[in-house]
Amino acid sequence: MKHLLSGLLLAGAAAFVPGTHAQDRLDISVPEDALEVQRKFLCSRTEGDVTYGYFEGKMYSRVEGERDRTLFNLVGVNVRQCKDLMDPERGKGFRSVSREVMLYLDPETNKVLRTWENPWTGETVDVIHVANDPVNMRRPIHVYREDGSPIEFNGLFKNGRVITSFNVPLFYKNPLGGEYQDYVGGTYHAMEMFNNYAYEDEVLDRNNMKLSRYTYSWTRVADWLPWMKMGDRLGIMFTSVIGARVNTVDDIPEPLLSEMKANYPKFLTPPPLDDDRPNETTWVITKAAIDAARGDN
């Protein structure tokens, strides 16, 4: 029954593949299949089908000489879709577009924070939640890279699981800093760390268009958030987060869903497939907010 069904589904897409069972399974050593697997980890294989990447966790401070403090609870979601692409030289491809919200919650009450009393400065500051629109793939992924080499899927296949993991050290010019950051400091310095966990039976199933059992962890180690108004105070922050892909908008857990409906309704859907605006980051958004408050933008 299962084979019959998948056979029918495959008839149009992969009827040219010889063999019986092999055609139901993606083969990551084939670049065209590696692309499909890569896409499953990022979004749905169906153009315009939206994925909701939910996550929750905590953010901590690390200041020398004191025990780390729990600053915030975190809840967030990335709402994403992918566009199908075809390039005469680079073959089939895709590009993702998304919007992302991450809220800072009171670690005791789990309520969405509007203001926050900075425990080091004693100042009460306005909280600027993460609401980045867009967070898009800068360059699309194709079967063949720009240099003509075929793409590879680098995942760990073990005991029926597939795990991908990547760490991204960031060290770039801070939009809030001046023109002499190499000389006087202020460069944005962080590292983002991601682990993604899926099941091999879904990952390699040619007929599976979207992973349903898909979890992940994320950690960022970074300097203070600009709205905390920490200035040059020594210390860093880090997050510890776990998440999973949920099926629909209504499956986004509370209190995130209600807050998004009330204050971030646009973020419940991804940007249009052909969105070509530059990406937003906390730095860009905070700069705009500070400049607006100053009245000098």
């Binding site: 073990k158 005991n159 310095h189 682990n195 962890s217 180690v221």
Partner: protein
Amino acid sequence: MLRKTLIASSLMLAGFGVHAQELDVSDPDQALLASNKIFCANEPGEIALYWWQGEVYSRIPGEKDTHIFNVQGMNARQCGRMEDETRGLGFRSVSREIMLYLDPETNEILRTWTNPWTKEDVEVMHVNNDPVNSRGPRWARDENGEPSVRFEPQQVVNGMVLSGGGAARLFYNNPLTGDYQDYEGGKYHAAEFLTVSYPLADALDASKTAIQDAVISWGRISGWLPWMKMRGRSGLMVHYTHGMRLHDWEDLPDVLREEIEANWPKYQTPPPADDDRPNDTTWTVFKRWIDEKREKGEVPKQGPR
């Protein structure tokens, strides 16, 4: 009584392939059974083997984080099972733990390492903590017989339990520094963070004594490792890893399995369930390691200023 019935019936169910019976987690004993099988096993003597691999970075203000090591680690654990008239069912875990530092390019096990900041060649001391035990048993009920264990997953998505997103914040006296750490500094300061996800059905399945299908992430932010000989330089280390529970010893990657079999054979099994030795940490192990070298005259008492 209930417990015996439970075990008997779960064995029967497993034997006859009937639909799995679910644990009733409103009962504290059964809640303990559901939560104990994630990182341990409910059957005494059954080994829970966890494995992880990942990367280690330095973080120094003013420079991009540098990938300095890869790591391969494992923990072999078992749980002693006990019963008490007032407190009900109890488990105590005992384990041993190895984590190897590997060359970030070649993935070969490092024996020595050239510290890029001091340019000194130092001997690498891998993590070899024996034991890593829970201090006391975890009981289903407190001294007054009130339930002390609940099985309430923080989040379940599509049948998968999400657990974690917090950190163990460590800030304690460092065995390598002196008696005036509150005044002079030198405390051990770190945070460790673990996440795990697994099928809820496996936790509730009364016929399963362990959850095999569990994937983890583990990370740590800490000061430098003592064997790096950083002499108090500013900066941090960031570990980030991914891993899973393994079915058996042969499941370990060759590099880790062969090194343990050759050089750390006792780490293939957990300590005995009644092990009452104090726990090891990198600090206690390093102190023994370096003191022995000093005793033998292999390293000077104090390095050059």
